[in-house]
């Protein structure tokens, strides 16, 4: 009994140490929330297209994994992650789609003119309804859909090189990216 009690502080220390080890990692965001939509079918959307009038609808994305990036011209972190999306799209292995969240189409267009357009198609979500259906609570957010149209992963906030290398690309490999 005495022995057991003597070990309690040690056990407490180990628990706390493990906890701090996790939460003090750089990149850990205590406000980031897990998506409630993981492994569920992506909500239906059929958005008018930003460029060339190419519309973006959920049901046309089926058949191969897709990355959907919610962005806006007024969103500073979106500009931060933009070069990464450009590089990701340039590999040609990943189908990256954009949804312009609560943004004026002309502003979205200007952003893409300035920084390049990594998206295969872009939907205009002027009122943020599609964002609401996805559970978006801030831009940028990035979703990974499998070929069946189920949400497999959500990234909250700007993507980092580590997110892409360690999570996004491995996930797409298991999903059988095109």
């Amino acid at each position: 009994m005495r022995r057991v009690i003597a070990l309690v502080p040690v056990a407490l220390f180990l628990v706390l140490a493990a906890y701090f080890f996790v939460v003090l990692q750089p990149g850990y965001d205590p406000h980031a929330l897990p998506s409630a939509m993981i492994d569920k079918e992506a909500p239906a959307f059929d958005l008018p297209g930003l460029r060339d009038g190419k519309a973006l609808a959920r049901d046309t994305l089926r058949g191969q994994p897709a990355v959907i990036n919610f962005f806006a011209s007024w969103c500073v972190p979106c500009r931060q992650e933009h070069p990464l999306l450009m590089r990701l799209a340039a590999t040609g292995k990943v189908a990256v789609y954009g949804i312009a969240y609560k943004d004026k189409p002309e502003d979205s267009t200007r952003l893409l003119d300035q920084m390049g357009d990594p998206y295969r198609a872009i939907g205009i979500d002027r009122l943020g309804r599609t964002g609401l259906d996805f559970g978006v609570y801030g831009v940028p957010e990035t979703y990974v859909l499998d070929a069946a149209g189920h949400i497999r992963k959500r990234f909250v906030g700007p993507l980092t090189p580590a997110d892409i290398e360690k999570e996004l690309l491995p996930l797409l490999r298991t999903l059988g990216g095109s």
Binding site: L33, S35, A36, M37, K102, L132, D133, G135
Partner: protein, 155 residues
């Protein structure tokens, strides 16, 4: 009000109206007061995910506005309060509920504090029980005689 006088009453009225200024914008409100009251009640239980410590009923964040509108749409479409809440939870998860439901995933949250208290009580009980004899030690014979003498002298 007679005691305070009109200017003070007017001032208090202004302060009160500012304090209760609604985050709910006029355009959002439903024409049916009963339905609007239900929407307010549902909203008061939902967390604004941007501010995280305010209900969407109190928050001026854009997202809170969107969710308030969603709740009102669902209620207008004939949803019950629970169905409207479920529509929001299906998008944002249990975290949007300011009062999280009791289920295995939230047991630590609900019962953790009680559990810790119980552990503390058991611990202190065991500890105190194993340390007998902290009470007053009885006087020795010499001390008792000295005390008796002192008491006698006093009386």
């Amino acid at each position: 009000m007679r005691v305070l006088g009109r200017p003070v009453a007017a001032f208090l009225l202004i302060v009160w109206s500012v304090a209760t200024a609604l985050a709910v914008e006029p355009a959002e409100r439903l024409p049916d007061p009963a339905m609007e009251a239900r929407a307010r009640a549902v909203s008061a239980e939902l967390r604004c995910l941007v501010c995280q410590n305010e209900s969407i009923d109190e928050s001026h964040a854009d997202l809170a506005h969107d969710i308030r509108v969603l709740v009102r749409e669902r209620l207008s479409a004939g949803d019950t309060d629970a169905q409207a809440t479920a529509a929001v939870v299906s998008r944002y998860g249990d975290f949007v509920l300011l009062r999280p439901p009791v289920k295995p995933a939230t047991w630590v949250l609900w019962f953790g504090p009680v559990g810790l208290l119980a552990l503390g009580l058991i611990g202190s009980f065991l500890w105190l029980r194993r340390r007998p004899g902290i009470g007053p030690t009885p006087l020795t014979v010499a001390e008792q005689q000295q005390l008796d003498r002192l008491l006698r002298e006093d009386g």
